[in-house]
């Protein structure tokens, strides 16, 4: 059976190793924080914070303390604050070990599209282009197909790119794929999902 959102997040959490500094995108990636367990993971919020804590208790919200999704959050004992130039300096400089991000489309060469649909309202790329260009490892978490049943794992992206050849690993509801020389490689499938089912749902070349 395909993974649900929480199972995808739990699988993504397995990618994280002790001591890592990690940036989580909005949506399913945010849920990854619930599954890191005992691992010593430090979350970066690109608006200027390392060591992001959980949401505050009611009445303890601080307007000066938000995450990159503009949500109120809390700090931890390890927290440090810095300005946006420093924050993206560490992103661009490869100091963040991994980013776990959602996507609209991923291509077999690692191209990623997750910021705009031409003709629709365009809100902007925010920090996504910097993250995919800079962090050590880009892990995409998304449904394998869109609501029409079309594959989001493509030979070529059709939407404007967020980054070219930037994706390392794709975690979908059907399983896990790596971007390798010549195409994608199936790393594993969700329990009860066959490789054939994954291939059928994938437009990209699987090698």
């Amino acid at each position: 059976m395909p993974w649900d959102r929480n199972q995808m997040a739990a699988r993504a959490a397995e990618e994280l190793e002790d001591g890592m500094y990690v940036n989580l995108g909005i949506g399913i990636p945010t849920l990854v924080a619930n599954y890191v367990g005992e691992k010593d993971i430090t979350l970066q919020s690109e608006n200027g914070m390392l060591g992001m804590g959980p949401f505050p208790f009611e009445g303890e919200e601080d307007p000066d303390l938000i995450n990159a999704g503009k949500q109120t959050i809390t700090e931890l004992r390890r927290t440090s604050y810095f300005d946006s130039a420093q924050s993206f300096g560490m992103i661009r400089g490869g100091k963040i070990a991994a980013a776990i991000l959602g996507a609209m489309e991923v291509a077999e060469n690692g191209d990623l599209a997750n910021w705009m649909i031409p003709g629709k309202l365009v809100k902007g790329m925010g920090g996504a282009m910097d993250l995919v260009a800079g962090v050590g490892r880009v892990i995409v978490v998304m449904d394998h197909t869109n609501k029409h049943g079309d594959s989001k794992v493509l030979k070529e992206c059709t939407l404007p790119l967020t980054g070219k050849g930037v994706v390392d690993r794709i975690i979908t509801n059907l399983g896990v794929l790596d971007v390798v020389e010549g195409g994608l490689k199936i790393v594993e499938t969700a329990e009860g999902v066959s490789e054939e089912e994954m291939r059928a749902a994938t437009q990209a070349k699987i090698v």
């Binding site: 919020s45 690109e46 608006n47 200027g48 914070m49 959980p54 949401f55 505050p56 208790f57 009611e58 303890e60 919200e61 601080d62 307007p63 000066d64 303390l65 938000i66 995450n67 999704g69 503009k70 949500q71 109120t72 959050i73 700090e75 604050y81 810095f82 300005d83 946006s84 130039a85 924050s87 993206f88 300096g89 992103i91 661009r92 191209d111 309202l121 365009v122 809100k123 902007g124 790329m125 925010g126 920090g127 996504a128 282009m129 910097d130 260009a133 800079g134 404007p160 790119l161 967020t162 980054g163 070219k164 050849g165």
Partner: protein
Amino acid sequence: MKKVYSSASEALDGVLQDGMLIAAGGFGLCGIPELLLQAIKDAGTKNLTFASNNAGVDDFGIGILLQTRQVRKMISSYVGENAEFMRQYLSGELELEFNPQGTLAERMRAGGCGIPGFYTKTGVGTVIAEGKEHKEFDGETYIMERGIVADLSIVKAWKADETGNLVFRKTARNFNPPAAMCGRICVAEVEEIVPLGSLDPDTIHLPGIYVHRLIQGTHEKRIEQRTVRQKEGA
């Protein structure tokens, strides 16, 4: 040399000009120079270009200057929270230059640091790279981005002393230091001006050399997305 002014309007007196480029600090509605934005609205300055990560919401932040049609162009990374923005943009009244967030922050910092151009991997192979110089370094392709020098910077800090040394609080720091650095003139608003000597020199986030004018005021500090968790057992 007096830097402290009595109000936002007084602090902006003689500084505002139609068509100018203003760099503004803040991320979302966090750490935005809300009093100075209100004073710019009151002054009625027109055809402004703002380098600012976001464009506020309809009735707060830069949004209040969109309502009055005082903004001609935004240089931003994310503008999704503002219906009036989208209306003006789609109707062609408002120009928009998207910058990746880190590129925007670094462009401001560079402009303030006398660096007219720098290379980054961000945006290579995307629409952002179109028309920009490409260069190879050690086998990888980068694009050149330009430093931004603004006619005016407006920023918001937590505390200041009378020489303009600024201290920020938590994630309200964000774009404020790079925005302050890139302005030919920088006006800052703070919650409290403390006596000279009461800030620890090791904890000053932005030295007063960057700050030309300064006001103290009361801030609404609106929260954009109030998210909470439940107390266990409550």
